[in-house]
Symmetry: C2
Subunit: 407 residues, 2 copies
């Protein structure tokens, strides 16, 4: 399937999309902290949200919004600096005001704007600043502002995360997907503390879009771990406006449906990996693949347990080929394991076989780990289950950042 | 119930127990790395082991041993420096040799010695050095050597961990419990990477001893977390030789049975807390109590999730009264939570109520956290479930130790 990342593409690369940013002064000074992303026509919408039982006001607002109107959204508004979480009834009012302000400024019907907030929790949202910023931003929409939008939603991120890819459907039309994300700390599966939005000009029904999103998330955002914590605001939204003019995709079990799903998965993997690469204090990007598990679920359990282990992650920081810690993590993961069948590789070098360490060259193995992109491969020797997950190492910088930053 | 820690008491404080140590040179130079603990009569025995599917050779040996002879053990032998894990058939032979060497040196029948190993994994055990050390140590048994035994089993521990307590049973006899433990990193519930042994002179049946141990562990060793990792060698053993001459305890639902169980729990809590206080790189000892949960299991789930959260632990290192991270951890713990009922206290100061932060004095709250012994209390406002767990903060020293130490 031909698929191609658009060079320097972003969330307003797909047809019919424009964005604007503004400096509302919610928390940060002298930088944009608001992003508006607007479609020129109604969109199918689908989203996944944090599984944390403590949900921020915008998450609660959006969940109700999608139940009312998943076929006619027009825009997304995001602010950074204040998460509008643990803010009670005033927070719910602020979330509503945020959506209504965007609808008014963009001259849209009610219930057409999706909202996201990220930043400090438990601090009242300065609604007047936010509404004023939304009104100002609405006058500056442009199709070239997608990169600025990705910058405006950053918190402790060190770089903006955005991408776009273009693909031709088997039925002939070309469609584009664009996206942005913010992450940094507190990243773990089940949509743990991150914001991401994907736009497309493909025509796809809300139900098919929802199925495609869930499939893509299982292979991307739910395959990353930075520190195992999950948060109050995590949201991933996809909006499809149909400007590409393709025949409406209503079923993923069609050539067009499968192609769309593959493209969305690829974009989501790219964005999820960008979040890991920018993990708080991370110095290495680690790809962990477990094969030979009893089934895919077992493979993912083992891979995610390796990815979460502080002992594995500190060893990776120190470029220590510590196969024992990886084997231990597999052993307590809950996946079915026969230690005497396990094979382990660091950076492609075989270090353990049949549960026993091989007489490998420690310095050579350490050199394979002392690089920015590291691989760990395990074969459990039991079945056909496979999973790949992505994580980062755990260095002292993570502690420096988190002992000081008030979430 | 009168119960009293014996000042500077240790594993050979109970009647009928002696110990010896030796420097085998297994890994460490110029320090004892072997401990023998011997009873002058046969003991009831009970143990709990790591739940990791990758089990070290001594763990496999002991599990089979207890199935054969839980009523007639006589001794324990422990080495530090080599875990005899991931060592294959040679490791199984080394474990057998370790037990047989102690039985021979002590002139005991076969199947009367329990074994434990801790240290590097995946390195062949130098069996000759070990056997020679056991033989030498056996000639130096003394009732005053319990503290030396606790020192001999240390690895990255910074101090030995031992204690004893003496208690009078309702039926009249006085009995003593003594214990030692080693821990440091890789500590988590379900007997994750620690060694501990408890001796007593109480008379108690193997079945009642097993039930008492399981009850004590649930309220002690399984209530601590340092980094969430679990290991190949964790073992907690209790041996009861009956030298106190009390009427045999065969049922915990008797006054004597309940008193023994309470004493064992108190000693195990003391040893478990000593492990947390000596957590790798720890600067604070943190007691987390969750009340008002739907049931005790929910309370423990919420408390352990707080205890495991790297974001909570780094905030504690920084003395940051970051209630948001604690509330988040409760929210994703899996325990039933209504955020609008949660009350949170740091060091006894109320910082959150009804899901909303209170206007507390940040500097005063930080001062309450900037101490060696910290408390976090949460009330979920839903029921009668209560649990207390113990953990430590996460500082840069943990990473320094673990990026360099080869487990």
């Amino acid at each position: 399937m031909p698929e191609l990342f658009v060079e320097d593409g972003h969330i307003t690369t797909p047809a019919g999309w424009r964005a604007a940013t503004w400096a509302c002064g919610i928390k940060y000074q002298a930088r944009d902290d608001l992003a508006l992303v607007v479609s020129d026509r109604p969109c199918s919408a689908a989203a996944v949200f944090t599984t944390n039982q403590v949900k921020a006001a915008p998450v609660r607002y959006d969940q109700a919004l999608l139940a009312r109107n998943a076929a006619g959204l027009r825009a997304l508004v995001v602010n950074a600096g204040n998460a509008n979480a643990c803010t009670g009834a005033d927070g719910a009012a602020a979330a509503l005001a945020m959506a209504r302000a965007a609808e008014t400024a963009l001259d849209l019907p009610v219930d057409t704007v999706f909202i996201m907030s990220t930043g400090t929790i438990g601090v009242p949202m300065p609604t007047a600043k936010l509404v004023s910023g939304i009104t100002s931003a609405a006058a500056h929409l442009d199709a070239t502002n997608g990169r600025a939008a990705a910058r405006a939603i950053m918190t402790t991120d060190t770089k903006p995360k955005y991408a776009a890819l273009r693909q031709t459907l088997p039925s002939g039309a070309t469609f584009t997907l664009g996206g942005m994300a913010k992450g940094a700390g507190m990243i773990h599966p089940n949509m743990a503390t991150l914001l991401s939005a994907v736009t497309t000009d493909a025509a796809i029904s809300p139900a098919a879009l929802d199925a495609a999103l869930r499939s893509a998330v299982a292979l991307s955002f739910n395959c990353i771990s930075i520190d195992g914590d999950t948060s109050t605001n995590d949201t991933l939204l996809v909006l499809a406006n149909g400007a590409a003019g393709n025949p409406l995709i209503e079923d993923l079990d069609t050539p067009d449906g499968a192609a769309f799903c593959a493209g969305l998965t690829t974009l989501c993997q790219h964005l999820a990996q960008a979040i890991v690469r920018d993990g708080e204090g991370a110095t290495r990007f680690v790809t962990i693949t477990v094969r030979g598990a009893r089934d895919d679920a077992d493979a993912k359990l083992a891979a995610m347990t390796i990815a979460r282990s502080p002992l594995v992650k500190t060893a990776l920081y120190g470029a220590d080929p510590n196969w024992g810690r990886v084997l231990c993590a597999i052993g307590y993961s809950g996946a079915t394991v026969d230690p005497e069948r396990v094979v382990l590789l660091f950076g492609g070098m075989r270090v353990l076989e049949g549960g026993l360490p091989l007489p490998f060259d420690e310095q050579a193995a350490s050199a394979l780990l002392n690089v920015p992109e590291v691989t760990i491969d395990a074969d459990l020797g039991l079945g056909d289950g496979v999973a790949t997950v992505w994580t980062c190492d755990l260095g002292p910088e993570y502690i420096t950042i988190n002992a000081e930053y008030r979430t």
